[in-house]
């Protein structure tokens, strides 16, 4: 009986493996001349987030269309050791260039040097490495984050004159550059409008909607007067919204804040569906997907063809477009999603489903 069971299990696993391999997308199809002109690697911080998946999709499609390039995408899974393994993996595959997004600045510097030793140029993005020794693509998040803070504070004070802005922030664990570009910039924006604004708390949301929900519940308990919440990414912002909704908050009336104003970051589909829901308190975000991906790809090819010096720090800046309920239209958001996230649905329909 045991032998039969064992044999059945082995057979099932083998069949499942074959099916998965068969279902896996063939990556060597559709290239001009039957094979890619360039082969490059792209290491994603984590495929859990819509934003990073969006960048990966854009890089692959743009690379193929513009340069007949094959892009090998690897997921760092948010872990240092996996990120380094991914770099080693790509070096082993003898790719011609690598783009890397990872928040550990020392790790990215080490990765640049490791790849350079093997003659492979690298471009980094979003978080500047500890040593500026290679090209870098930088979304301009600071001004957009500050703008969001200003808009959030203005809208809150317009609806509740004289009620001091009390801000709660969910971050990734106090990365200095995130502080500079996102959380600190956002709070500065709030203070620009309300100099008496108070930062009630800033805790690690672990980039997780579930954990952010739990932490926000505790934060609201600690300080029920919280009226502005900022999630370091849309996932955390949505977790904060879920927490607010569970305690009878999370409400707006046709864009007039009733309980709080929530902001996120990445401008993904889920966030936009809430932003344009007139009765949800999630109302602001910003993001740069396509332009970021294009800049990374162009830089990699530039380094390969000798047009860009791979050993010199040169920063390509990309606009991180801000969206909010009051100043951006749903049509603009729809277009943004189509271009950046390759969204093929209707934002209007998503908003209708999200609205209660």
């Amino acid at each position: 009986m045991k032998k039969i069971l064992l044999a059945a299990l082995i057979l099932s696993v083998a069949v499942a493996a074959l099916v998965l391999v068969g279902c896996a997308k063939k990556t060597d199809e559709g290239y001009v001349g039957g094979k890619p002109t360039y082969v490059v690697g792209h290491i994603v911080y984590t495929m859990e987030a819509q934003y990073h998946q969006g960048i990966a999709k854009q890089i692959v499609e743009y690379g193929k269309k513009m340069y007949n390039a094959k892009v090998i995408v690897l997921d760092a899974q948010g872990k240092d050791e996996v990120a380094m393994s991914a770099v080693e993996n790509l070096i082993q595959q003898k790719v011609q260039a690598i783009s890397l997004h990872y928040p550990n600045t020392g790790l990215t510097t080490a990765a640049i040097k490791m790849a350079r030793e093997k003659g492979i140029p690298m471009v980094t993005t979003l978080i500047r490495p500890s040593e500026r020794i290679a090209p870098h693509v930088q979304p301009l998040e600071g001004p957009s984050s500050q703008m969001m803070g200003e808009v959030a504070a203005k809208q809150w004070l317009a609806a509740h004159p004289g009620v001091t802005c009390r801000v709660f922030i969910l971050d990734f664990g106090k990365f200095p550059q995130i502080e500079e570009m996102r959380t600190g910039a956002f709070f500065q924006g709030v203070k620009n409008v309300d100099p008496k604004a108070v930062l009630v708390g800033q805790l690690n949301g672990f980039s997780s909607t579930e954990k952010s929900m739990q932490i926000t519940l505790d934060a609201l308990q600690k300080e029920p007067r919280i009226n502005i919440i900022f999630g370091g990414n849309d996932e955390m912002g949505l977790g904060a919204l879920a927490a607010c909704q569970q305690v009878g908050r999370g409400k707006m009336k046709d864009g007039v804040p009733l309980t709080e104003v929530i902001a996120g970051l990445d401008a993904n589909i889920s966030a936009m569906a809430q932003i344009y829901n007139p009765n949800s308190s999630f109302k602001l975000t910003h993001g740069a997907v396509r332009d970021n991906a294009i800049a990374e790809m162009d830089t990699m090819i530039g380094m390969i063809t000798g047009k860009i010096d791979p050993k010199k720090y040169a920063e390509t800046q990309v606009l991180s477009r801000e969206f909010d309920y009051w100043n951006s239209t749903m049509e603009e958001a729809q277009r943004f999603l189509e271009v950046n996230y390759l969204f093929t649905g209707s934002l209007k329909d998503e908003v209708a489903k999200a609205a209660k």
Binding site: M47, E48, G173, L203, S208, E210, E223, P224, A242
Partner: protein, 324 residues
Amino acid sequence: MTAMVSSAGRRRSMDVQKIILLAILVGIFVFLSLAAPNFFAIRNFTNILMQVSVIVMIASAANLLMITGNFDLSVGSVLAFCAIMHAYLTKQGMPIWASILACVAIAALWGVFNGVMVGVLNVTPVIATIATMYAARGFAYLIARWDGGANITAGLPQNFAEFGRTMLFGQVPIIILFMVVVFAVFFFIERKTPLGRFSYAIGGNLSAARLSGINVVGVIVALYVLVGALAGLCGIIQVSRVGAAFPNLGQGLEFDVIVAIVLGGTSMMGGEGSLVGMLLGALVVGLAANGLNLFGVQYFYQTITYGVILIGAVLIDLAVHRKA
């Protein structure tokens, strides 16, 4: 005589452990009531219970499993898998109630797989359940990709969030009710049913249990199925509370469950344990997490605190057992 003394000694040490744990719980409670802002409030207690509910529900079955000398590291991944599956099925038009039943059934199947690997094929529980952990999480990501993205947040039915956010009598979140019911059921199972008695027998002496006619394989498989099913149910509740499905739901949950169980005095070697102890352990961890958040303590200090709590619990356990 020696066996009777030894058994009585173990029971006494369990009682002492529970008393110590209760004392720690009361101590933390009093401290937080005095020092933490807005701790002593019904809403805050509700928050704490909501936060430990998932752990208590899964640990209620996992506790019995550990008493048999086995454990399940796949609970977080099975939870995530069922969360994603529930979102996917309801988005495709399946009625919510049908999706709940289907997903719990699928979660139970993961449990069957674990049970067969461990109970029938004698694969080490660590290896077997880690394999399930990777596979279930991987499938969760895959289902999200089939839906077209990194997660399933858009296009869900309007009543998707209702199940997890239902409030009984307008005050009590449904997840707390589920926790109470599951705990009560497993309390009964542990004390009054053959499944409970057999679990202790298997953990105490596997050979003796077999020789005395206990269907060891059946018990182990049944417990893995129960753990799996509860993980699935928790996934459905969590995803409807969050209002959207993310494949990273339940990350690290298996360790939270094990901490609650070990803190409660259940031996990882099997043979002894206590459901009440598990509940006290879960509440200690829940109170500590809540208190640290109310104080605004940064994450790294929180992880150190958990480590200290766990080491403290293990040392107390050692000290108590030595005396017994």
